[in-house]
Amino acid sequence: MVKLKRILFASATALALSLTAAQAAELRVGFTLDAHTLDPANHRNRETETIIRNMYDGLLTRDGEMKVVPEIAEAFVMVSPTVYDFRIREGITFHDGSPLTAEDVRFTLERLTAEGAMGEGQTSPRKSLLGPLQSVEVRDGNTVRITLSEPWPILPAMLPFQEVVSKAFVEKVGTQGLATQVNGTGPFKLVAWRKGDAIIMERFDDYYGGAASIEPVGKACVDRAIFKIIPESASRVAALLSGDVDIINELPPFSVEQVKNNPGTDVMTVNGTRSFFIAMNMEGELFGDAKVRRAAAHAIDKDLIIDRILGGNAARIEGILSPDAFAASTDLPRYEYDPDKARALLAEAGYPDGIDVTMDTVGAYKDIAEAVASLLTKAGIRTRVAVGEGAQMTQKWRTKGGPKSGDMYFTSWGNGSLDPFDIFTPTHRTNDRGNSAGYANPELDRLLDEAAVELDTEKRAALYRKAEQMVNADLPYVYLWVPQDIYGVSKRLKGWRPSADSRINLHDACVD
């Protein structure tokens, strides 16, 4: 009897608790991948950063227009091309109630960049994201000075990728502890991490409000925010349709209509940062010839594919940069769809009967690659699509100067910082990591190197524009489009907008 009573009492308490929880505003995000770790300095993964960023704030952040603005910093100045001063805002507290100081910022940056600073001889895998950072010192109590070993104009653009940790906390729990515990200054506190399943967070009531220039400033709107991990896209859509979650990322274009037609849900899009292109192996006999490369560009009806397959959710490009990126050109010559011209170019190059090629790609891009292949085939470039696994394709095509095999490679490159440095250099500089076309142009290399360290914004933009004209003419790649990021949202969601850097910032989000 006593036992029965106890069970009844426990059930009643549980029921009461769950009722309270149900009344509190709770926002759930159906998200593709779980965080690998909760330590902001110990990963190299965009999904991990998206989750962490709701609990940790950075020195700088980006506003809705992707402009870099101070967050934990109050203001910053470039003292010289290699020295930057950041004045730290006062009155910011960590989740454990301790105040944030300039020393915490110095410690954070040092932990990210110093050799072996993660403990047990390990260096942060994020070190290279801070380029030539040489030293960090605290001056006058609340100013942090960053000294670079060489000019690096994109330092402010790269700082939003780093989050500030508490020195005392890290020293207490160690790098091992920081993998699963959070003591940040962000709008949400960690409640529980159910690994592989969900990250449960609650509002941090002593939040300082976030970046002063991004409205609304203040505490988060919802009481609880949850990242629920649903890797399979059909299941993510199902979770949204059933009302189980309020936001889902990576909504597949073919599910857009279904989500729009469902009474309680809608679709939101934002210009993405990932450029799609087809690499043509310039070391090979066929695509070594510029005429054949131009024929390929004229054979593809980009507008048709954007319209019919991507549901209109993409922006056409004629160079590597997204239209939203720094220094993107608007006046590049367009390679219009013209299959006759393509055939004529092939004939001029000595292939009046057309050519047979293989286009490699990965499973996720198979459908679009096949549509592109059918257009190429119609114009005399008879294309067979070969689907391989991601890592395998990377090894085959991104050879960093090693010999290349294969004809064409349908691929993409992300540019979260929206700075050309991050996408132009790796994909076009001779023998660089992402140069899958095997393109080698010393003049372009010189332009890219110069632009990387040029501090005058106007001059720097001019250099990149010139570089884009150059690659538009040389055409190592057929530049295709930049798809929008597509999110499914419930109609009870208010105040949230998707962000072009793929971050899901839940600070402003409210639910009815």
Partner: protein, 335 residues
């Protein structure tokens, strides 16, 4: 089985494990794809920084040295650090294991509880409509891809009827302090029937999806073996004696007919582990299967190696259990 035999069987594990670890290691090493490249992704990095990351992960050593380091550590119970989680792989695997085991066990129970009655019914009503339906059903059960069937169940029960949740192990209002890490048990131990019900609702669809092919196979085995037993002399004799049909079926026939079913079930439990990889992805189930698939794509070598070793040990043990059960149930066979 004598103690000596038992020890002998367990000793067989040693060469199996050694073989498996060599094969897994070589397969991962020979698979194209570079962990450091995948980790850096679409970012600029200097060759020196790339080299430093490679050294940090121990990938700068020649393959045979890497293998020796792995083996040396593994025999001491250290399976290395996950490239991505930056924690010991053993810890990462152990966190995910209970979800996988719980799902497999519930799938097994569902499979047994459906397959045995259906198989028996199909056998005693041979060639009836029921028998034919069961035959077609089992054919479908084996051939339907789990991926497709799972999504079908989701659309019906979670989206249209809204009876069951889409994904996860338990709802967010049912937070409980773990004891055994098996939620169906922990919720009861903590006196939370509401949370138990919640966990049960979460596990139902994935367990049915996972158990479907096994149900189909076990039903066929039960039916065939039941038919065979019903033809035996002792059954004919029992019938001639005028025993009631129920008594003949359950006391005499079923007991013997279940011998193959039980041993097939034990072996097939191993294949549940394989099926987990798909089912866990569809239902967002936070188990080991999904983790392994993700790790293969990321070339997270240490985690894949340790997980495959774990699968190998489980498979060998399950086969061993199958043998034991067979000899216990059927005294005519001796190991």
């Amino acid at each position: 089985m004598s103690l000596g035999k038992l020890t002998e069987r367990l000793l067989h594990l040693v060469p199996v494990l050694l073989g498996v670890s060599v094969i897994v290691f070589l397969m991962m090493a020979l698979t194209p794809g570079d962990p450091v490249d995948i980790m850096i992704g679409d970012q600029s990095v200097t060759p020196e920084e790339e080299q430093a990351m490679r050294e940090d992960l121990g990938l700068d050593l020649p393959v045979h040295r890497q293998f020796l380091v792995f083996l040396g550590n593994a025999v001491q119970g250290d399976f290395g650090t996950s490239f991505y989680h930056r924690r010991p792989v053993f810890d990462v695997i152990v966190e995910r294991l209970p979800a996988t085991i719980e799902l497999s066990l519930v799938a097994l129970v569902i499979a047994l509880m459906t397959a045995i009655p259906l198989g028996v019914l199909a056998a005693i009503r041979r060639n009836s409509i029921l028998d034919k339906m069961a035959t077609v059903g089992s054919l479908l059960g084996v051939s339907l891809p789990g991926f497709w069937f799972g999504i079908l169940l989701l659309m019906l029960f979670a989206v249209h009827l809204q009876l069951l949740p889409v994904s996860g192990r338990i709802g967010f209002d049912s937070e409980i302090e773990p004891i055994t890490h098996f939620l169906l048990i922990d919720t009861l131990l903590r006196g939370r029937p509401d949370a138990f019900w919640d966990a049960l609702k979460h596990i139902l669809l994935p367990a049915i999806t996972l158990g479907l092919p096994m149900t189909a196979i076990l039903m066929r085995v039960t039916r065939t073996s039941m038919l065979e037993v019903m033809r035996q002399d002792y059954i004919v004799f029992a019938e001639a004696k005028g025993l009631r049909r129920g008594r003949i079926l359950f006391r005499h026939a079923l007991k013997n007919a279940l011998i193959p079913t039980v041993s097939v079930a034990a072996i097939e439990t191993g294949s549940l582990l394989g099926g987990n990889m798909i089912v866990e992805t569809v239902f967002g189930w936070p188990g080991l299967g999904r983790l392994v698939v993700e790790s293969v794509f990321l070339r997270n070598y240490p985690l894949v190696q340790a997980a495959v070793l774990f699968y190998a040990v489980t498979y060998v043990l399950l086969n061993f259990i199958a043998d034991l059960l067979y000899t216990t149930l059927n005294p005519r066979v001796k190991l």
